[in-house]
């Protein structure tokens, strides 16, 4: 009893790891659902085989002589050791091929929404190409309509990264000079988390992103807002923040559409304030996090390619943070 009582919280903790926004066991995408079915079939089948093996071992240990004689016969060895694995593994493999075979892009993507994701060190460059061929650049977050398959094109600007959103689909590598393609078909509105799944250098563990699935109508409205230029800052503090942003070198790497900031080296910040995270899933998105990131980026995410800007006073950092927070 005491053993059960002491193990229960641990077991609960372990089970907790299976739930949440990055769990392959709680799929909300068509492909992840297929993977989920396959995983459960495999797990149940393996559990059954394990139970059978245990039963046979127990019979050999504790059964009588007659039982042992039967178990040591050639029939069981040939039947259980050759025929059964051959048949069961063949069936499982065929089933796996059947289930996963539909991973290939099923839709004719011409004239439909596509999303290009480029793995960078250590963030995600996200470009939506809508029905009219408009290219809308964003970063570190992907929004998708529910109930409609969307083609995701994956490549890398530098080293090999891997794109994995466990709740939505299996992982696929992002390889420099090559475009890999997958289809995300989200079945339920909500947020899931993705993570780079191929070691890509120091800050690899801090290269994550959120995928936000929205009902079709909301998505269309969101995409329109995302395509628009940045709102001008409101309030004297934010206006000063914008002036600082433009005079302190930020614009050399970052773009804020509709302003002089036209850098392309780092993430597009046109609507950065509306995202769920900063620095590719590293920080919460609020003014304090902006200030911390600007002043201390090399401590928050060591070796990332943005130098720490320790040249600002606290007041200036607040103004900058306010301006960036208003970019929604």
């Amino acid at each position: 009893m005491s053993l059960v009582r002491s193990m229960a919280p641990l077991a609960l903790l372990a089970m907790h790891g299976c739930a949440g926004i990055q769990s392959a066991l709680e799929p909300t995408g068509a492909e992840a659902e297929r993977i989920n079915v396959l995983s459960w079939v495999l797990m149940l089948f393996c559990a059954a085989v394990l139970a059978g093996v245990c039963a046979i071992a127990a019979a050999a240990l504790f059964g009588g002589n007659a039982m042992r004689a039967r178990l040591s016969g050639e029939r069981l060895v040939i039947g259980g050791g050759i025929i059964f694995p051959f048949l069961s593994l063949s069936v499982l493999l065929s089933y796996g091929f059947y289930l996963m075979g539909s991973n290939a892009p099923v839709i004719d993507t011409d004239g439909r929404l596509r999303v290009e994701v480029v793995g960078e060190r250590w963030w995600w460059r996200v470009t939506y190409i809508d029905e009219d061929g408009r290219r809308i650049e964003s970063a570190n977050e992907i929004r998708l309509p529910v109930g409609r398959p969307v083609e995701i094109q994956l490549t890398s600007a530098d080293v090999i990264h891997s794109f994995w959103v466990p709740k939505l689909a299996g992982k696929l590598d992002m390889i420099p000079g090559r475009a890999n393609s997958m289809t995300l078909h989200v079945t339920e509105a909500g947020i899931s988390r993705g993570q780079c799944a191929e070691y890509c250098g120091g800050p690899h563990a801090l290269m994550a992103f959120f995928v936000v699935a929205m009902p079709e109508v909301e998505f269309a409205a969101w995409l329109e807002r995302e395509a628009a230029d940045a709102q001008p800052p409101s309030g004297a503090e934010a206006v000063t923040g914008q002036a600082l942003f433009q005079s302190s070198g930020c614009v050399a790497c970052h773009r804020v559409r509709g302003t002089v900031a036209q850098g392309t080296i780092g993430p597009d910040l046109t609507h950065v304030g509306s995202r769920y995270s900063l620095a590719a899933g590293t920080l919460e998105n609020d003014p304090a996090a902006f200030a911390r990131w600007i002043r201390d980026s090399q401590h928050v995410k060591p070796e990332n390619l943005m130098p720490s800007f320790e040249i600002f006073t606290e007041g200036e950092l607040d103004q900058l943070a306010l301006y960036l927070d208003q970019l929604r």
Partner: protein, 376 residues
């Protein structure tokens, strides 16, 4: 006693006793104060000989891995002579002049350096200037990161005695102090030091290894002087000078140079148009695939006054500083650490290109992007 009967323990005892005797004698000599350390009296001849052999061997062996860059550049020799005037003359005197009486009382007396080139190859001169010599009064170079400065001094010394005749011109002594403003600049001593190398109303810089300051932003000049004085920006030449200035003098100097009208270019080098085009592209567009942002996003003169203007700066100076950044030599200040990310992403050939382009431009504000069309 027959030697055959001599047991090893006996030998050990005798040796131990002898060693104890030597140590005791040594202790008496050291503690009694018998040895005369007066500089007024020469060492024993054997001591002098021993010191010299140790010194020469040490310099030869330690300078073995040093590799000399080309040392025949005229402006490099000028820079070396300028450093020499500031840091070396107090002890070694100007070439051909007598050392002063105070210094002559040193033991060993600072050698006449006119024949240094015959006694040492450039690698050894470099090593001595960089590291100094124990027990001679010869100090190490104030900044161990600035090998470029040490090489300049080496280039000058290696050119002696031929360069001795031109010394006053090479070191900037003939450039004269500044004109009307000196009275206003309090002690005046400060600016006399500055204009020997940097510009004044009449002259440009003393060679292209020395940065042009005229027309530079005041905030940047003041920040640089403070960084030198605080030891977070390395320079064997500027750190001691800036440290010696009061805050008020620093402000006056920054303001003087910022309002000084940039002189016309000293010499026109025919630029290579292809190189200028490459450099212009880096200056205005950067190299995005290499994570190099465009220079003019910060340095065009329309941004923070803490960012220096770089159009019209000497190419050699820009190159030296960018290489210093690449070697981690300018990570001392917050501003320097930002620029480090850019400099480290540049290839040496690209540094040459962009420096050549910037040097070919007029001093001061950069023109609004001449590549605006290309940018669109």
């Amino acid at each position: 006693m027959d030697l055959k009967d001599l047991h090893w323990t006996t030998i050990a005892k005798v040796l131990a006793l002898a060693a104890a005797g030597v140590i005791a004698l040594g202790a008496v000599v050291v503690w009694s104060g018998v040895y005369n350390v007066a500089a007024s009296q020469d060492h024993l001849r054997i001591t002098t000989w021993l010191f010299e052999v140790i010194r020469e061997r040490s310099v030869t062996v330690h300078s073995y891995p040093v590799e000399a860059p080309p040392l025949d550049d005229e402006d490099m020799i000028r820079l070396g002579a300028s450093h020499y005037e500031g840091g070396c003359v107090p002890c070694h005197s100007r070439p051909g002049e007598e050392t002063n009486a105070v210094v002559r009382g040193m033991l060993p007396a600072p050698p006449d350096l006119r024949s240094i080139g015959e006694r040492h190859p450039p690698e050894e001169i470099f090593w001595i200037v960089k590291h100094g010599l124990k027990y001679t009064g010869m100090p190490a170079w104030p900044s161990s990161q600035r090998e470029d400065e040490v090489w300049a001094v080496t280039a000058f010394l290696a050119r002696l005695p031929d360069a001795a005749g031109d010394y006053r011109a090479l070191s900037g002594l003939t450039r004269g102090a500044l004109g009307g403003t000196s009275g206003e600049l309090a002690s005046g001593r400060a600016l006399t030091q500055c204009t020997r190398c940097h510009e004044n109303e009449r002259n440009g810089t003393n060679g292209d290894r020395i940065p042009r300051l005229a027309g530079q932003t005041e905030a940047y000049l003041l920040r640089s002087l403070r960084e030198y004085a605080d030891g977070i920006r390395p320079s064997g030449a500027m750190e001691p000078v800036a440290d010696f200035l009061s805050e008020g003098e620093r402000q006056k100097l920054a303001s003087y140079y910022s309002s000084l009208r940039p002189a016309a270019k000293d010499k026109a080098v025919a630029p290579d148009p292809e190189q200028i085009r490459r450099g212009q592209s880096i200056a205005f567009r950067g190299i995005p695939q290499q994570q190099v942002p465009a220079c003019m996003n910060c340095h065009a003169g329309r941004q923070s006054p803490h960012f220096p203007l770089i159009a019209g700066q000497h190419a050699a100076y820009i190159e030296t500083q960018l290489h210093l950044w690449r070697q981690g030599g300018r990570r001392g200040s917050a501003y320097g650490r930002i620029m480090a990310a850019v400099a480290e992403a540049l290839e040496p050939a690209q540094i040459e290109d962009v420096a050549a382009y910037l040097a070919s431009q007029a001093r001061g504000l950069a023109s609004a992007s001449p590549m605006a069309e290309a940018h669109q």
